[in-house]
C-alpha cells in the first residue's frame, strides 16, 4: 500500500525484535471471538488516478454550469491562489495544535495575526483562535453571556439564521437557559416594542444577526444601549464577514460571533468554515476556545504561546468553559492570508462591489411587474423580494434556464410566503443578473 513505508521483510524483522511470531499476537488482548476473521467489505483499494476519477464523477452530478443567487449564511466570493498555496504548505497543513511553542511559532504567530484582524474587523478588544463555525460560535457566545451575567433568560431575534437558532436550541435544551424569540418589524429589523416588553432585569443577552437573515442591517449603537440599560449583553452574529468592509463594526456589542467563510473559504457543501468569538478584554476568561498570546523567551525574543489554557477542557475537565478541543486553525489561516491579501483597500473595494451589484440587481428585479422589495431597511449583498408566484414554482422553472434561484423564506418563516432572499456578490456578473431578469420575465409570464 503506497501510504505504508514498510516492506514485508522489515515487518518481519520488527516482529522478531519484539519477540512476536505474528502480528496476530500483538492483538492477543482482544478476545478471539471479537476478532474479525474476514476482510472488511469496503470498496477499493483505489489508485490515485481512480480516486480522482471517482470524485470527478461525483462532481459532474452536482451544480456545475449553473449560476446561483443563493446566500443565506454561505457566500460565493473570490478566492486567491496565494491563499491556497500557503495553506497547502505541509508545515501548516500537516502540523498539530501548537502546544509545543518552540516548533509551532508559524501557526502561533498566524493565529495571533488572525486574532488581531478579527478585533479590527469587529471593533472588539479580544478574539479567539476560532470556533467551528458561525452557528456554534453564536451558541458559545450565548453560553458565555450566561457565565458573565449569571442570568438565564436569553432573547434571540427571530431574524437570526434559522439554523443558528436550531443549534442554540439543541445546546441549551439540557441547561437552565430559557430562549425567547423576538420578532421583526415591517422594515425587517428587530421589533423594538416586542424587545422592550421582554427585556427585563433577568435577561442575560439579546442575540441579533447583522446583516440578519432577511438581509437587513440590524446592529446599531442604540440597540446596544437599550440592552445595556437592562444590564444584559448584546451578542451580534455576523454571517457575512465581507459586510464589515463597508458596514459599521458592532463595536458596542459585548460579544460578536462571526462566520468567516466569506474570507477565502469555499462553500464546500457545508464546511469546514471558521467561526470566531470576539469580545471585551474584561470577559476574556469567560471566552471559550483557544487563544494565542504574545510573550518572550529568556533572551527577551518575542514569541507566541497558547495561553489562558485553564479555561479549556484538558485542564478544567468538567469545569471547562466549553468542551471544544479542535478549532479551525487551517481555515483561520486561510482567512488570515486572504484578508492580508485584500488588505484595507481591497476589503473596502470588495465590500462596495457587493453593495453595488446587490443594489443593481434589486433595481432590475423590481422593474419586473409583480416583484417588489420586501423590507426597506438598509442591506448589504442580500435582500428579500416578494414574487407574484410561489418561490418553489419559480425556482423549479429557473432551473431549466440553468439558474439556481433565490432562497425561499417560507420554509423557515411561514408568514413570508412568496418571499425570496436574493444574494449577489462580486462574482455574480452583470450578465448573470440580466439572465436572471429575462428568465424571470419568461417564467412569470402568464401561460398563453
Amino acid at each position: 500500500m503506497r501510504y505504508l513505508p514498510k516492506s514485508p521483510i522489515e515487518r518481519q524483522d520488527m516482529l522478531a525484535a519484539i519477540g512476536a511470531k505474528s502480528v496476530e499476537e500483538l492483538f492477543s488482548r482482544i478476545p478471539v471471538r471479537h476478532r474479525l476473521r474476514e476482510a472488511l467489505k469496503l470498496p477499493g483499494p483505489y489508485s490515485e488516478a481512480e480516486l480522482i476519477e471517482y470524485f470527478k464523477d461525483r462532481s459532474r452530478e452536482n451544480s456545475l454550469g449553473y449560476s446561483s443567487f443563493l446566500g443565506g449564511g454561505i457566500y460565493r466570493h473570490l478566492q486567491s491562489v496565494i491563499t491556497e498555496t500557503v495553506i497547502q504548505r505541509g508545515e501548516f497543513l500537516t502540523s498539530y495544535t501548537p502546544y509545543q511553542a518552540e516548533i509551532s511559532q508559524g501557526t502561533l504567530q498566524a493565529i495571533f495575526e488572525f486574532q488581531t484582524l478579527m478585533c479590527q474587523l469587529t471593533g472588539q478588544e479580544v478574539a479567539n483562535a476560532s470556533m467551528w463555525d458561525g452557528s456554534t460560535a453564536t451558541t458559545e457566545a450565548v453560553l458565555m453571556a450566561e457565565r458573565v451575567t449569571k442570568r438565564q433568560r436569553v432573547l434571540v431575534a427571530y431574524s437570526l439564521h434559522p439554523q443558528y437558532r436550531d443549534v442554540l436550541r439543541t445546546y441549551v435544551r439540557n441547561s437552565q437557559l430559557q430562549v425567547e424569540e423576538i420578532g421583526f418589524g415591517g422594515d425587517g429589523r428587530i421589533d423594538l416594542e416586542a424587545l422592550e416588553a421582554s427585556l427585563r432585569e433577568d435577561v442575560a443577552a439579546l442575540v441579533v444577526q447583522s446583516p440578519n437573515f432577511l438581509g437587513v442591517i440590524d446592529y446599531s449603537p442604540e440597540l446596544a444601549e437599550r440592552v445595556h440599560r437592562a444590564g444584559a449583553l448584546l451578542v451580534v452574529a455576523v454571517s457575512e464577514g465581507v459586510s464589515l468592509g463597508v458596514v459599521r463594526a458592532p463595536a458596542d456589542a459585548d460579544i460578536v460571533a462571526l462566520e468567516g467563510q466569506s474570507f477565502g473559504l469555499a462553500p464546500s457543501y457545508g464546511g469546514p468554515y471558521v467561526g470566531v468569538i470576539a469580545t471585551r478584554e474584561e470577559f476574556v476568561r469567560q471566552m471559550p476556545g483557544r487563544l494565542a498570546g504574545q510573550t518572550a523567551d529568556a533572551q527577551g525574543r518575542r514569541g507566541f504561546v497558547l495561553t489562558l489554557a485553564t479555561r479549556e477542557q484538558h485542564i478544567r475537565r468538567e469545569k471547562a468553559t466549553s468542551n471544544i478541543c479542535t478549532n479551525q486553525a487551517l481555515c483561520a489561516l486561510a482567512a488570515t492570508v486572504h484578508l492580508t491579501l485584500l488588505g484595507k483597500e481591497g476589503l473596502r473595494e470588495l465590500a462596495e462591489q457587493n453593495l453595488s451589484k446587490a443594489h443593481f440587481a434589486l433595481g432590475e428585479l423590481t422593474k419586473i411587474p409583480g416583484i417588489r422589495r420586501a423590507f426597506d431597511a438598509p442591506f448589504f449583498n442580500e435582500f428579500a423580494i416578494v414574487l407574484p408566484q410561489p418561490v418553489e414554482t419559480v425556482n423549479r422553472r429557473l432551473l431549466t434556464h440553468k439558474i439556481i434561484g433565490p432562497l425561499a423564506l417560507e420554509s423557515s418563516y411561514p408568514t413570508l410566503g412568496r418571499h425570496a432572499l436574493v444574494c449577489v456578490t462580486e462574482i455574480t456578473s452583470r450578465k448573470q443578473i440580466e439572465e436572471l431578469i429575462s428568465a424571470l420575465r419568461t417564467v412569470l409570464a402568464p401561460d398563453p
Binding site: 501510504y3 502480528v23 488482548r29 482482544i30 471479537h34 474479525l36 472488511l40 469496503l42 477499493g44 490515485e48 470524485f55 464523477d57 451544480s63 456545475l64 486567491s80 505541509g90 508545515e91 501548516f92 502540523s95 509545543q100 511553542a101 518552540e102 508559524g106 498566524a110 495575526e113 488581531t116 484582524l117 479590527q120 478574539a127 467551528w132 452557528s135 436550531d166 439543541t170 458596514v247 459599521r248 457543501y269 457545508g270 464546511g271 476574556v284 498570546g293 504574545q294 518575542r302 514569541g303 504561546v305 495561553t307 475537565r317 468538567e318 468542551n323 479542535t326 487551517l330 481555515c331 492580508t340 481591497g346 462596495e352 453595488s356 443594489h359 438598509p378 432551473l399 432562497l407 443578473i433
Partner: protein, 498 residues
C-alpha cells in the same frame, strides 16, 4: 551528549508581524472591473456606513504576503518533516490527493442550500462514507453532522439522553474513567449530566468489580476509550457492556483510538452502543495546526430515531435526500450539512486502502510495540499490559536527576522530532505518551529510539543539557506565566511588540 542524526541547526528568516510590514497604498489583490453602476455606500447604508474602511488592516504586496507566511511556515514542525509521536493524537500521513479531490470544481464549489437534484454527487459521497464507517465500526446507523470529536461526544450523549427521556427518565450521572480525555467530562456536563469518576485497577484497566457497584439505575452511560489512553485494550469490554445494559445504561466509546482497531475488531461487535470517530485521527484528514476536524457518530439501531438533522435518507425512488423533518431528533448540532470538505478527504483515505485498512492498523500497533520493546527499562513502564497503537512510559527513572517528562520532550526537539504527549493520561504521573502511527518507517522508528536512549543517558550524565532544551530552535522556552498574567492577545501597534 548523544549523536543527533536526524536534524541539524539551519538558518531561520526573522519575520515580524504582518502589521509591522504594512505601508499605506500597497496592495496584494486586484478586483475585476465593476460591471454595474457604483452606488454611494454612504447613501446606501446611511448611519451604518463604515467610513474609511477597517483601521489597522495590513497593506502589503503579493510577494511580501507570500514570503511572510512562507517564512512563518518554516518555524513549524510537521508530519511532512518527520515523526510526530503524539500519543492519542494519531498524527499520520495526510495524502495529498485528498486535498486535490476536496478542491475539485463541483465539490468545493457546492452551496449547502442548493437543490438536492443538483447535489446528487455530494449526497452520494456522504452515503458512501456512511456505509464505509458503518462497516468499519460494526454499528447500525450514523450521523456525519458533528463538526469535531468533541461535538461528536456531545451528540452521542444527547442521543442517549433523548432515548432515556423517551423512556421516561433521563437519569443523572455519566461515568468517566480517571484515564479519560478531558473532553469526556466536559461534554458530559454540557449534556446536562453529573460526572462520576471510575477508578482504574492496578493494570490500568477498568475495575469491573467496582464498576458493577457504581452502575446504579441513575447512571445514563459509561464513556470509555478503547483501547484506553494507556494504549491498552479493555479485555473485559463486553462484560462491561453487559453490566451497563442490564441496568439500562449505555456504553459510549470515544473513538479517538480507532486507529488500533480498524479492520481487526469492531466496537459494534463488542457491545458499544454509540461512539464518535475523529476523522482527523484515524482517517487522516489534516490537523492543519489544530483543525478543522469532523466527528461522525455511529450508533445502534435503538438510537437511530434521535439522530441530529439533517439526516441522509433514501427516498422510495432510491434518490438520496437530506431530511429535516425528524420529530424525535435531538435537533441540529451545526449549521448546514456537516464538515463536508473533511468528509470528502476521509472517504478518499478509506477508498485508497479498501479492506487493506487492516494493514494500517497492524503497522500502527507494530510500530508502537517495536518502540516499547527498545525503550522498556530505559523509561519506566507503569502499566505493562500489552500495548496496542501507543505506549505510555513515565519519567520516574529520570525524576531522580530532576528531569521530568516535559524536559525530555523538549530535548527531543533538538533530535529532530516533535515531542510525544506529556503528562497525559493523568493516572500516570509524568507520562510520556508515544504513538508513532503506521506512517513511520522502521528507519524513522529506529532514529526515534536512538534519540530517546541518548536523552536518557544525557538525563543521567548532563541533566542541565536536558533541562535547558531545546537548544536548536529559533527561540527558547517561552515565559507562559507572563503570557497568562498580562495577556497580550492582539497587535496594538508597535508599542506592544517586544
Amino acid at each position: 551528549m548523544g549523536k543527533i542524526r536526524k536534524a541539524s541547526t539551519h538558518v531561520n528568516q526573522n519575520e515580524g508581524l504582518i502589521f509591522e510590514k504594512s505601508s499605506p497604498g500597497k496592495r496584494a489583490f486586484d478586483l475585476p472591473q465593476l460591471d454595474v453602476p457604483a452606488v454611494d455606500p454612504q447613501k446606501a447604508l446611511g448611519v451604518h456606513y463604515r467610513a474609511g474602511g477597517v483601521g489597522g488592516f495590513p497593506e502589503v504586496s503579493e510577494i511580501e504576503a507570500l514570503r511572510h507566511f512562507t517564512r512563518l511556515s518554516t518555524w513549524n514542525y510537521a508530519i511532512d518533516l518527520g515523526m510526530y509521536p503524539l500519543g492519542s493524537c494519531t498524527m499520520k500521513y495526510n495524502p495529498r490527493v485528498n486535498e486535490l479531490v476536496a478542491r475539485l470544481d463541483g465539490i468545493a464549489t457546492e452551496h449547502p442550500l442548493q437543490p438536492e437534484d443538483l447535489s446528487k454527487g455530494c449526497l452520494r459521497i456522504l452515503r458512501l462514507l456512511e456505509t464505509c464507517l458503518l462497516e468499519i465500526t460494526g454499528m447500525d446507523a450514523i450521523t456525519l453532522q458533528p463538526a469535531a470529536g468533541a461535538q461528536g461526544e456531545l451528540t452521542g450523549l444527547l442521543l442517549i439522553r433523548a432515548y432515556l427521556q423517551s423512556q421516561g427518565n433521563a437519569r443523572s450521572k455519566v461515568l468517566v474513567p480517571d484515564s479519560a480525555h478531558g473532553t469526556n467530562p466536559a461534554t458530559a456536563v454540557m449534556s446536562g449530566y453529573l460526572v462520576e469518576n471510575v477508578k482504574s485497577d492496578s493494570d490500568g484497566q477498568i475495575d469491573v468489580e467496582r464498576l458493577t457497584e457504581q452502575v446504579t439505575d441513575d447512571v445514563a452511560a459509561l464513556m470509555i476509550t478503547n483501547p484506553s489512553t494507556l494504549g491498552i485494550f479493555e479485555q473485559r469490554i463486553s462484560e462491561i457492556a453487559e453490566i451497563l445494559h442490564t441496568r439500562g445504561a449505555f456504553l459510549y466509546m470515544d473513538g479517538a483510538n480507532m486507529n488500533a482497531l480498524a479492520g481487526v475488531t469492531r466496537p459494534g461487535d463488542f457491545g458499544v452502543d454509540v461512539m464518535h470517530l475523529n476523522l482527523h485521527k484515524t482517517f487522516s484528514t489534516p490537523h492543519g495546526g489544530g483543525g478543522p476536524g469532523a466527528g461522525p457518530v455511529a450508533m445502534k439501531k435503538i438510537l437511530e430515531p434521535f439522530r441530529p438533522v439533517p439526516v441522509l435518507v433514501e427516498k422510495e425512488e432510491g434518490e438520496l435526500a437530506l431530511d429535516e423533518a425528524r420529530p424525535r431528533s435531538i435537533g441540529r448540532v451545526k449549521a448546514f450539512s456537516g464538515n463536508f470538505g473533511v468528509l470528502v478527504r476521509a472517504l478518499a483515505y478509506i477508498l485508497a486502502y479498501g479492506p487493506g485498512i487492516r494493514q494500517a492498523t497492524e503497522d500502527a500497533v507494530l510500530n508502537a510495540n517495536y518502540i516499547r520493546k527498545h525503550l522498556e527499562g530505559i523509561f519506566e513502564l507503569r502499566y505493562s499490559l500489552p500495548s496496542m497503537h501507543e505506549v505510555v512510559f513515565s519519567d520516574a527513572l529520570q525524576k531522580q536527576k530532576g528531569i521530568n517528562t516535559m524536559d525530555i520532550a523538549k530535548r527531543l526537539i533538538d533530535y529532530g522530532f516533535h515531542p510525544y504527549t506529556t503528562a497525559f493520561p493523568l493516572i500516570v504521573p509524568g507520562a510520556l505518551m508515544i504513538e508513532p502511527t503506521e506512517s513511520e518507517s522502521k528507519e524513522e522508528c529506529d532514529l526515534f529510539i536512538e534519540a530517546m536512549r541518548a536523552i536518557a543517558q544525557e538525563a543521567a550524565l548532563v541533566p542541565e543539557l536536558v533541562k535547558q532544551a531545546p537548544h536548536s530552535t529559533r527561540i527558547g522556552r517561552l515565559d507562559e506565566v507572563a503570557a497568562a498574567r498580562k495577556p497580550v492577545l492582539r497587535w496594538k501597534g508597535s508599542d506592544s511588540s517586544a
